[in-house]
Structure formats: structure tokens, C-alpha cells
């Protein structure tokens, strides 16, 4: 049932390519028929050359002419159908991938946060491939396979019913043989996959931890446990590989026996002179060979089609995932001031685990709010809410006097500049990254932003300066962070969201970053996820978080006086 729904969606995908699909089906129809008719004609030709001196050259010439013509026709239609298939397959791939890419931009952030990007990428890449290859190629194979079987049947029956029956009844045996072997070997393959998984995990571990293995002198033990798995793998692989390699010879045996039976029966008919000619014996023999082929392929095609449908379902599931709440129809656009107010906000990622309840907070323009707490306490949750990456469950967030749900997301987000600890940069050049939020920026603006972010001096020293392509490893984490700051510096709106660096950056680079942060924060409303107590101490409001909840709120003095969680956290810094 589910497959049916999926199939319907697949048809919808193919719709724009109606013409090539129809052309492909027509061409493969022509080419299959043409291919089948040729043995028929060459058999006929043989009947005109049975005995010395009695060869009819005119008839042979006529048949040869037909064969040449049909060959040409078959070749052209074969090529056309392949080209059409390619066109449909690859275009459907492209369309699907474009749709997925578009989908990524409209899905709620919560979906992307809760689904590992590896899984989403594999839907985009391998699932789309398997789907398009399997479904479209599988379909054409199935189509031409069934066509071949039907056409051969008709041709054979028209020649001699008895011989035809022999072929029809015996050939499917090969499918049973193949099925039997596959079902018997399945166990070994599951086992093999399991051991391989185990082995890969161990290899990963041993190579990742090679320095530890070596430093503690554990090489022999490690090799020993590896060998144990390796031996088990050898044993199972041998069975899996050997038994599965029996399929082809076994089906070939069945086909060969059918072939022999056809040779026997048709020859006996010819011998008795009951309407079978020598040429027809040869026709039967070549059909007996051809008839088996689609049968042997079809079981493979069906598995492939099933795979394709599974992949298609995964892709469609992604495409049909609910989009984020749409932007309001009549969005408001309040004057930009930089005030933020949270009113009785409640939020949690899952209903079972309540996180934020009744959070109220009023921030005047230009104030600094620090979000503090131990690692993993959920400090990013607030950023998610402020930027409207997530919607609040209840209550409201008011920016510049308006509920943020009444603004377009674009409008809301353009009021903030954001620097996260995760230093994401796009694949382009340094310059392209700095102008990310303001593509029309002038050269001077770019350089002054980079200078303000303390990034200019190192960018200048890069091989191509501002035009250096950013790769995964040509910049240090600190340098990437500085570029992110320059990116934010270039379009400085009245509100900031900053995520302070932790240990991955050395303290002197960090000082530069601090300095850049300080410049940015001057006169702007800033929310800063703070790790350093000095930053926290100087903020106007400190939100202390633990286990995802805001547990204390106030300025440094108030909180120290309260002698609660914050005070304990602060004092532990100075313990010896």
C-alpha cells in the first residue's frame, strides 16, 4: 500500500519528462522486437542453403537485406532509448536534489538539529542515486525483459507448440535454483556484514588510538584481538563468497539442460519430418538461449526495484517533512532600537523534559546580558529562541516593541549580528565570507571591518590575501573565528549575539577576540554566552543556567550575595 503511494509520487516526478519516457518505451519496444526477429530470419536463411547446388541466392540476399535493415533499426532504437533513459534518470536526480536543497532552507532548525547531517547527506546523495538508477533502469529492464519473454513465447508457439512448451516449462527452474542458493547464503552474508562491522570498529579504534596503544606497549594484545576477528571474517567470507558464486554456474546448468532438451526435441521433430526445418532448429536453439536471460535478470531487477522504492520513500519522507511556521502575511517592521523583552517564555525541546518556564526579562537598548553556566547547560537554547531558530512554546519575545512572530524572520535576524563558537565559513574566498551579510560592501569597508576584527594582518599574509580560498585546514580555529567576527563587523546592527571561545583558542588570540567583541558591544544590546568569569562579572544582567534551565538571574553583586549556584561556580575558580 505504502509502495503504491510512493509509486504515485514517483510518477509525478517523471511527469515533466513525459516525452522522453514515451520515446524510451517505444524505442525499447522496437529494439526488443527487432532483436528477436533476427534469429528468425537467419534461421530462415539457413533453410535456403541446405544442400550443395540447391542454394537459393536470391532468397538469401533478400533475407540478408532484411537482417541488415532490422539491425540498423534495432541499433538506432537501442541508442535512442538509452539516451532517453539517461536524460530522464539524471534530470530526475537533479530535480530531486534541487528540491531537497530548497527543503533544507525551509525546514525548522529543530529538524536539522535532531537529524545527523550524515543521514541527510546520504539521502541527498546515495538515496537519490539508488532511487533513480534502480527505479528507472530497473523499470526499463523489467519492461524489456517481460517484452522479450512474451515475444519469444509468441514466436516459438507459432513455430512448434511442443518445443515451445519444453522451453516455457523448464526455464523458470533456474529462478528457483537461484532463489534457493540466495536463501541459503543469506545467513553467511548477514554474518559477514556483522563481523565486518565489528572489524571496522576495531580498526577505527586501533588507528585512532595508535599513539596510546604504542605509548602503553599494547601492540601485541591489540593485534591479537584483531586477528581473532580477522580469522572469523576469513571463515565466514569464504562460505559467503563461495556459496554465492554458485548461483551463476547453477542457473547456467539449468539453461544448458534446457538448451540440450530443445536440441533433442526439435531435432527429433525434424527427423520425423513433422514440420520443423533445420533452420527452425537453429531458431529454437537461439531462442532457448535468449529466453533464459530475462528470467535470470528479473529476480535481480525486482530486488533492485524494492531497494529503489525504499530509497524513494526516505527521500519523500524528507521532502514531506513539515516546514517551519510560515512568515506572517502582513509582517510588521518596527523601528530599529535594540530593545528585547521576554514575557513568561516557556520552552523545551521535547515535551517530556521541561526546560525553560516562566522566563521574563527586560533588556533596554545598549545593555549587556551574559548567559553563564557549566558546559552543556543549554546556553545555546536562548540564542535559538532570540534568533527564532525555534519558536517558544508559550509566552512571547518582543523585539523593538513587537512580538517577533509578527515579523518576517529575515527582518528579525537582520537586527542581530551573530558570532558563534562554531566557526562556520562558506567554501568561497576570505572576502566572500566577510561580505556574506552585505554583498555590496566596498573594498574599504571590508578592510576596515577586518582591521577592527584584528584579522587584517593575518589575511594579508595569506597566499592570495583576501582572495584566498578557505579550505578545511588553511586557517586555524582562532583565525576562522576572527573572520567570523569581521563578517559580523561589516553589517553592525544594534543587537549582538556572541558566543565566547573556550579552550580551543590560545589566550592571546582570545584577547584579540575579546577586544574585537568589546568594540562591537559598545552601545549595542548584546547577548553573550560567556565562559570567562571576567566577562560575566561586567555584564548588566547574568542569566545562570544549569541543566537547560535558567536558575538564577541578576547582576554579579546580587548573585554573589545570594550565595547560590553562581557564587559556588565563581569561587571554584580560585580554589587551590
Amino acid at each position: 500500500m505504502k509502495d503504491k503511494a510512493t509509486a504515485k509520487k514517483v510518477l509525478h516526478l517523471i511527469k515533466p519528462y513525459k516525452l522522453p519516457v514515451v520515446a524510451s518505451i517505444l524505442c525499447s519496444l522496437i529494439s526488443v522486437c527487432a532483436q528477436l526477429i533476427i534469429p528468425y530470419f537467419s534461421g530462415n536463411a539457413i533453410d535456403f542453403m541446405l544442400e550443395a547446388g540447391k542454394v537459393s541466392f536470391e532468397d538469401i540476399l533478400r533475407i540478408i537485406g532484411i537482417i541488415a535493415l532490422v539491425t540498423g533499426l534495432a541499433a538506432v532504437s537501442q541508442h535512442l532509448s538509452a539516451v532517453c533513459n539517461n536524460k530522464v534518470t539524471y534530470c530526475v536526480c537533479r530535480d530531486l536534489r534541487n528540491r531537497i536543497s530548497e527543503k533544507f532552507h525551509t525546514l525548522p532548525v529543530s529538524y536539522l538539529d535532531s537529524h545527523p547531517s550524515g543521514d541527510l547527506i546520504s539521502r541527498m546523495i546515495s538515496d537519490v542515486d539508488t532511487f533513480a538508477d534502480g527505479l528507472l533502469m530497473g523499470f526499463t529492464q523489467l519492461f524489456s525483459g517481460v517484452l522479450t519473454i512474451v515475444a519469444t513465447l509468441i514466436l516459438m508457439l507459432s513455430l512448434n507448440g511442443f518445443v515451445a512448451l519444453t522451453v516455457i516449462l523448464l526455464t523458470p527452474l533456474s529462478i528457483f535454483v537461484a532463489k534457493f542458493i540466495t536463501s541459503k547464503t543469506h545467513r553467511f552474508f548477514t554474518e559477514q556484514a556483522k563481523i565486518k562491522g565489528e572489524q571496522t570498529a576495531l580498526i577505527n579504534e586501533l588507528i585512532e588510538g595508535q599513539n596510546i596503544v604504542s605509548a602503553f606497549g599494547f601492540e601485541d594484545e591489540a593485534l591479537g584481538s584483531f586477528d581473532e576477528i580477522n580469522q572469523r571474517l576469513e571463515h565466514t567470507s569464504l562460505f559467503a563468497t563461495f556459496f554465492s558464486s554458485l548461483t551463476n554456474p547453477s542457473t547456467r546448468l539449468v539453461n544448458n539442460i534446457v538448451y540440450a532438451a530443445v536440441a533433442l526435441i526439435s531435432s527429433l521433430f525434424a527427423l520425423l519430418g513433422t514440420g520443423i526445418t533445420i533452420g527452425q532448429v537453429s531458431i529454437f536453439l537461439s531462442y532457448a538461449g535468449q529466453y533464459a536471460k530475462p528470467f535470470n535478470e528479473i529476480s535481480g531487477v525486482i530486488t533492485e526495484l524494492q531497494n529503489a522504492l525504499t530509497c524513494a520513500k526516505r527521500v519523500f519522507d524528507l521532502l514531506e517533512e513539515a516546514d517551519r511556521r510560515p512568515d506572517p502575511e502582513n509582517p510588521v517592521n518596527p523601528e530599529i532600537k535594540g530593545s528585547v523583552e521576554l514575557k513568561d517564555v516557556a520552552f523545551s525541546y521535547s515535551p517530556e523534559k521541561k526546560l525553560i518556564t516562566d522566563l521574563s526579562l527586560k533588556v533596554e537598548p545598549g545593555k549587556r546580558i551574559a548567559i553563564a553556566g557549566p558546559t552543556g547547560c543549554g546556553k545555546t537554547t536562548l540564542i535559538n529562541l532570540l534568533m527564532n531558530f525555534y519558536d517558544v512554546n508559550s509566552g512571547e519575545i518582543i523585539v523593538d516593541g513587537e512580538n517577533i512572530q509578527n515579523m518576517t524572520r529575515h527582518n528579525l535576524r537582520s537586527r542581530y549580528a551573530m558570532v558563534l563558537q562554531d566557526t562556520w565559513l562558506s567554501g568561497g574566498t576570505v572576502k566572500e565570507n566577510i561580505i556574506y551579510g552585505k554583498p555590496e560592501a566596498s573594498e574599504e569597508e571590508i578592510i576596515s571591518a577586518a582591521k577592527a576584527a584584528h584579522a587584517h594582518s593575518f589575511i594579508k599574509r595569506l597566499p592570495q590575501g583576501y582572495d584566498t580560498k578557505i579550505t578545511d585546514d588553511n586557517l586555524s580555529v582562532g583565525q576562522r573565528q576572527l573572520i567570523c567576527i569581521a563578517r559580523a563587523m561589516l553589517c553592525l546592527p544594534p543587537m549582538l549575539i556572541l558566543d565566547e571561545a573556550t579552550s580551543s583558542i590560545d589566550t592571546r588570540t582570545e584577547m584579540k577576540i575579546q577586544d574585537a567583541f568589546a568594540k562591537m558591544m559598545k552601545g549595542r544590546t548584546s547577548f553573550i554566552v560567556a565562559h570567562r568569569l571576567s566577562t560575566i562579572r561586567e555584564s548588566d544582567i547574568i542569566l545562570v543556567m544549569n541543566d537547560g534551565k535558567v536558575i538564577e538571574q541578576g547582576n554579579h553583586e546580587e548573585l554573589m550575595e545570594k550565595n547560590g549556584f553562581y557564587a559556588r561556580l565563581y569561587n571554584s575558580q580560585f580554589e587551590e
Partner: protein
């Protein structure tokens, strides 16, 4: 390739018998058209019913024999291929274990992992198919041509022609499309990279309102992929029609010239049927051969990559020394410099210092200042490129590997645990340690409480310790080092994932050890090293200062700067 030869030798019998039995099977395949010809020419033409029946049984018998020889061949091929892969995997791991840091850095861990998994699988597949098909396919192609000569010398010339033409068509198209397939793969990789970028950067993209631009960039790359796919597809689509035309042209020629020969009484109609059958067999085998060659080429490339690793020699050798003599300093660096392979500038230059037994030494400096490099020299992950390191009065290179392992124990920056139990991980430190000793180490490392919560020493540790938090992993690796009874313990920024309170408790506990052990503490925080007997301040690979917290605050600018950046109180802005 040379690494495969020992395995072919080891599986000599299998490597010879597998192709031989495949050839035997091919012989049976080749004989079929001739038998059919004899049925037509002798059986039907002369009306000999018994002859036809006897040939039928001959055909069945040959199919059965073909099946048996095929089974035998598949078994031998599988045995040799899988045995080879198993052996290669073992060799490769042993080789990797002999590597020092320099080799592993140069080659890269992920590369090593793919070589051990994907590449070796491809080699296994390649050997298997090679043994099965490399004799069979050419044998059938040439065998068919030779048998055609046996049937009729003149008509056989057609076979020479079609073999050549088919060969050109099949391999020509393969040759032309190969680089194009590569382009398609590259384009697909770019689509993957773009997808990853969009997913990982979702917050930034949305914050800057760049959704449309990112979408356009993706569609561009995706469009490039499409056109490269269509291009290679249209050429590959030529293969079937081309070969089809060639084979049928041969059929036409055989029919035309054959008819003439029959008319002259020099050939029988059954022979024509046999020759037409051979053209079909040749086509099938050539196509198989083409895909076999692609597969073999891929596995040769894989074998080359595996061989590259096997040919790499470790640059590090160990001495024989196991006994220690009297010494003044447990460790001393004398004008030590280190330049990483391929690096332009030294990572450490001209470092000299001495450490006495029982001292606690702090090492501080910014990222990239050489802190980790310095402690890696102490555990001899690398060798100094200049200068000398003395461990217990002897050059560090003179000690045997096991003695060195027993003397120096490191807690690496990135906590690395192995799947197993807490206990099996702790035993890395000392294979013979008692449970009591393990518990003691856990307590010192502030790990006893959470281990007890998770089920004690037998608690499961999943691969890479992923069922533990960052802080828990760090504490377990500290405990592991404490179990080892080593004289020197190195903590390489090992408390970065701990909160302030746990970190402080850990420092307190370690202090109690300090009289027996020499402890190196690498950190970015002055608070972590302030109590050390000696602090080494590194700046850009050089020793910027050495002394106690107070003396450095007084006399070392870099140290003061670091300290002030963390305790802003004193900073005047």
C-alpha cells in the same frame, strides 16, 4: 604488486587450479556449438535418431562437468582471494603499529582506515575475479576463433575481423569514458560538499538571510553534475548498438559466404549455425572482459595504495637499555629543536631545561606555541631534530621501548578510550594491576563516583568512550596513566572538559602524589600551573621564561600577559 606475490605463492595450488578449472569449463562451453552442428549435419541430415539422442546426453554430461569444474574453480578462487585479504589486513595493522607519530601524521589516520577496509576489500574482490575470469574470457574469445578456423578457414577470417572491431569498440568506449566518469565523481563530491556546507551552516545562513544565494550556488553545481552525467551517458549508450551492429554484420557475412560454400559442397548448414553461435559467445565474453578490466584496474590501484603503506619504514628505532644507573636529573633537554616533516619553520627551537625527580612542572603558552610538541618529545612520539634529550641520565634513544613505556605515562589532550570495560581500559596502564590499585587510581582521578554509578570496574565502555561525557573520559584517561606506576606522568591539557570545581579537586589530589612522581601539567590557564615547582612558558616554539608563578609574573611578559587575560582584574583598559 610485489606484496601480492607471497600470497600467490602461499596459495600456489589454488591460484593455478582456479583458472585451470575455469578453462576446463570454457572448453565445455566452446564445444556446445560443434555438437549442435553435428546434430544437424549428422543426425538430422542422415536421419540418425540414435546419434541425436547420444549427442543430447553428451550435452547434458558436459553441462554437469562444466558445473563441477566451475564449482571447483570458484572455491579455489575464493579461498586464495580471502586468504590473501586476511593476511594483508594482518600485515597492514602490524605495519601501522610500528609507525611513529611522524608516519601517522604524514599518511593520516582516515587514510589508514580506508586502506585497511575499503582498499583491501577491493583487492580481495579483484584477486577473486582475476582468478576466475582472466583466463576464461580470452580463452573463449580466442578459442572461438580457433574453432572457427577448424570449421572453415575462409569464414574464420570474419572472426578475426569482428574480434578486432569489437575489441576496438568495447575498449575504445571504455578509454574515452574513463576520464569522464572521473569528472562525474568529482562533481558529485562537490554536490556532497555543498550539501554539507548548507547543513552545517544552517544558523549562519539563516542569520544572514542568505538562503536564496546558497540555493542558487547549489543549483549551479547540481547543473554541472547533470551535464557531465549526460555527456558520459550519451557515449556509453553507444556501446550496445555498436557491438550489436558488428556482430550482426558478421552474421550477414557468414550467411552470404557460407551459402556459397554450401552450394559448392564444401560446408554444411550445421556449421553455419555453429559459427553464428560463436559470434554471440565472443560478444558476451568481451563485454565481461571489459568490466573485469575496470574492476582489476581499480583493485590494482587499491593494491598500490596498500603497498605504499607496507613500504613505509618507521623512522624511529629503539635502544636496548633497560637498567637505570644513578642520575641527577630525571629529565633534561639540551638545546632541543624540532621541525616537523615538511614544515617550513621549527615548532620548537633551542629548548633547554632540567627536571629533578618528584618535581611538578607546568607548561603554558598559547595554541601553536609548542606545548604538546614538547611533551610528545618526552614520551618520544617524535625525535628531536636537533639537540639531545636525556632521560634518567641517558639519551632517550638508548632506552628500550618497553622501559620507556613504563617510565613515561601520558594523558593525551584528546581523551582516547577503547571499547571494553572500565577495567580493560585501565589495564592499559599496567596489565598486572590489582582491582584495588585500579580503584585507588580512579579515586585520585576524581572518577570513582561516576564509575561506581555506571556499574563499577566492569562498566561497559563503548567505542571511543562515546557513552561517557568529555569530562568523564578525561578523568578515566588520567586514571589510566596513574595505574601505570610510571615515574613521569604527563597531563596534556587533560582537564579542559572539567568544570572548575572538579578541576580544583583533581589538582589537589595530584598534589599528594607529587613527592613520588614527576608530573608535567600542560595548560592554557595560569591557575592550573600556578602551584608548580617550575613553569615553562612557551611562545611560538621558544622558551620565553622558566621559573615559579611569582618569579614569572615579575620577570616574564608573556606569562604576565596570559595571566592577566584570564584574571582581568589587573588589566587596565
Amino acid at each position: 604488486m610485489k606484496h601480492l606475490i607471497p600470497y600467490f605463492k602461499k596459495y600456489k595450488i589454488q591460484s593455478i587450479l582456479a583458472p585451470l578449472f575455469k578453462m576446463l569449463e570454457a572448453c565445455f562451453d566452446l564445444a556446445v556449438p560443434l555438437i549442435v552442428a553435428s546434430i544437424i549435419d549428422t543426425g538430422i541430415a542422415k536421419g540418425d535418431k540414435d546419434f541425436v539422442i547420444s549427442r543430447f546426453f553428451l550435452l547434458v554430461l558436459m553441462s554437469l562437468l562444466g558445473l563441477l569444474s566451475s564449482f571447483t574453480a570458484q572455491f579455489f578462487a575464493a579461498k586464495a582471494a580471502i586468504g590473501t585479504a586476511t593476511g594483508l589486513r594482518h600485515e597492514l595493522l602490524r605495519k601501522v603499529q610500528s609507525f611513529s607519530f611522524s608516519e601517522i601524521d604524514r599518511i593520516g589516520k582516515s587514510t589508514l582506515i580506508t586502506r585497511m577496509t575499503g582498499d583491501i576489500n577491493l583487492v580481495q574482490n579483484g584477486v577473486n575475479m582475476f582468478l576466475r575470469l582472466f583466463m576464461r574470457s580470452p580463452f573463449i574469445v580466442f578459442g572461438a576463433a580457433i574453432l572457427a578456423f577448424y570449421v572453415d578457414r575462409d569464414l574464420a577470417l570474419i572472426f578475426v575481423g569482428i574480434i578486432l572491431l569489437l575489441f576496438v569498440a568495447v575498449f575504445g568506449i571504455m578509454f574515452v569514458t574513463k576520464p569522464m566518469h572521473k569528472t562525474v565523481q568529482q562533481n558529485l563530491d562537490r554536490v556532497t560538499a555543498q550539501t554539507r556546507e548548507n547543513l552545517n551552516g544552517v544558523r549562519v545562513i539563516r542569520a544572514f538571510g542568505r538562503e536564496e544565494k546558497q540555493k542558487e550556488a547549489f543549483e549551479n553545481i547540481n547543473g554541472t553534475l547533470l551535464s557531465s552525467q549526460l555527456k558520459v551517458g550519451s557515449i556509453s549508450a553507444l556501446l550496445n548498438p555498436l557491438t550489436y551492429i558488428i556482430v550482426n554484420a558478421a552474421v550477414i557475412l557468414i550467411l552470404w559466404f557460407g551459402a556459397d560454400k554450401i552450394n559448392n559442397g564444401r560446408l554444411f548448414s550445421g556449421d553455419i549455425v555453429a559459427l553464428i553461435n560463436y559470434t554471440g559467445q565472443i560478444l558476451i565474453e568481451l563485454v565481461k572482459l571489459a568490466s573485469l578490466i575496470t574492476l582489476i584496474a581499480r583493485s590494482i590501484a587499491s593494491m598500490g595504495r596498500v603497498g605504499q603503506i607496507l613500504d613505509t619504514e618507521s623512522t624511529m628505532s629503539y635502544g636496548e637499555l633497560t637498567e637505570e644507573k644513578n642520575y641527577d636529573e630525571i629529565l633534561s633537554f639540551k638545546n632541543v629543536s624540532l621541525t616537523y616533516e615538511g614544515a617550513g619553520a621549527p615548532s620548537l627551537s633551542d629548548i633547554s631545561f632540567n627536571v629533578k625527580k618528584g618535581e611538578t612542572v607546568g607548561i603554558i603558552g598559547g595554541t601553536g606555541s609548542g606545548k604538546s610538541t614538547l611533551v610528545h618529545l618526552i614520551s618520544r612520539f617524535y625525535d628531536a631534530t636537533e639537540g639531545e634529550i636525556l632521560l634518567k641520565g641517558e639519551s632517550i634513544k638508548k632506552w628500550s621501548k618497553s622501559t620507556l613505556n613504563r617510565t613515561v605515562s601520558i594523558v593525551p589532550q584528546k581523551a582516547m578510550l577503547f571499547s571494553g570495560t572500565v577495567k580493560s581500559n585501565l589495564l592499559y596502564g599496567n596489565k598486572k594491576a590489582s582491582d584495588e590499585k585500579l580503584r585507588e587510581a580512579l579515586t585520585l582521578a576524581q572518577a570513582y563516583d561516576f564509575v561506581k554509578e555506571k556499574g563499577g570496574l566492569e562498566a561497559t565502555v563503548e567505542q571511543g568512550g562515546r557513552n561517557l561525557s568529555g569530562g568523564q573520559k578525561q578523568r578515566l584517561t588520567i586514571a589510566r596513566a596513574l595505574v601505570s606506576d610510571a615515574d613521569i606522568i604527563i597531563l596534556d591539557d587533560s582537564s579542559s572538559a572539567l568544570d572548575f570545581a572538579t578541576d580544583a579537586a583533581l589538582r589537589k589530589a595530584l598534589k599528594s602524589l607529587c613527592n613520588q612522581k614527576t608530573v608535567f601539567i600542560v595548560s592554557q590557564r595560569t591557575s592550573s600551573v600556578a602551584h608548580a615547582d617550575k613553569i615553562l612558558v612557551l611562545d611560538d616554539g621558544t622558551l620565553a621564561g622558566i621559573g615559579t608563578h611569582d618569579s614569572l609574573l615579575e620577570g616574564c611578559d608573556v606569562y604576565r600577559e596570559i595571566h592577566e587575560s584570564q584574571f582581568k582584574k589587573e588589566v587596565q583598559r
